[in-house]
Symmetry: C2
Subunit: 172 residues, 2 copies
């Protein structure tokens, strides 16, 4: 099973691809999609969409896992992140791939065992869980790998239920 994890943002969208075989986790790739603030927003969003589509075509993930809003965000940030997140979720929707959302607390809890771990602890644990020689950089890519790990941490039964629910609901 392959999961594409995404930490969305207009300027920096982190991505991380994790494959699970049996109880082993393996990183297939990670990085950051960067767009320049000088470019009109609609073209920045198109660049993010195009790159995420490319990743999906290349790796055929079974699920896309996207980081959710964190509490304490201000409205303007939430609006901006929401735009990037919408475009990422759209790729999943267009290709019929289930998308899952996780709060930063859930991600940290899955990777580090508690929801208030710091960024360094997250990237160290991601490296350990994926057998990487060093903590992945930059932070957005490490976060994206952590989101993918969080999705893979859900039990198989829980995933099957989520998929069945998804199939049962046609688009209105």
């Amino acid at each position: 099973m392959i999961v594409l994890g995404i930490d969305p943002g207009t300027a920096d969208t982190g991505y991380g691809l994790v494959e699970s075989t049996g109880c082993r986790l393996r990183a297939l790739g990670h990085g950051v999609i960067q767009t320049s603030p000088g470019v009109p927003l609609e073209r920045r969003l198109a660049a993010i969409h195009a790159r995420v589509e490319e990743l999906v075509r290349e790796h055929a993930p079974d699920t896309v896992a996207v980081e959710e809003l964190y509490f304490g965000t201000n409205v303007r940030t939430a609006f901006a992140v929401g735009q990037a997140r919408g475009v990422v979720l759209l790729v999943a929707g267009q290709r019929g791939i289930p998308a899952r959302s996780y709060t930063p607390q859930q991600v940290k809890g899955a990777v580090c065992g508690h929801g208030r771990a710091g960024k360094e602890q997250v990237s160290r644990m991601v490296a350990r869980l994926l057998g990487l020689p060093a903590p992945p950089t930059p932070d957005h890519a490490a976060d994206a790998l952590a989101v993918a790990i969080c999705e893979l941490n859900r039990g198989p039964l829980e995933r099957a239920v989520a998929r069945a629910e998804q199939k049962a609901e046609p688009v209105a």
Copy 2:
């Protein structure tokens, strides 16, 4: 010149198409793209994207004008509206159509002469400006027509400058 105005939302995205010829404004169509809360978010966003693409193919607007965040929104709403807005802006970015954002205050100012007009006043003024027999319904569609009118109200010089700026900035 044709403008596609959009009032974005996950459940209800209002759209309105307005054409200006000389100093006359004409409505080419308006309505609401509705998605059901029971459907996974990524599929709702895909439905919004598909319908906006259809409108763009059908009417070939010169600009897409999208309503912005209003002050006083809470974070969760901003996040949700941001997702829908991102998907709408994406259609413009993918097709190379310039997108413009207007706050509700700017839209009301353009249509009613002041930024604190109520919903009924906006839809009455929209009907008058577009020569419609009755105020357009529902509210989201009336708002979308108002956003399109707001964009058409900008002077031709201002629009030319915005377009030139847009062309000068390649996607990074």
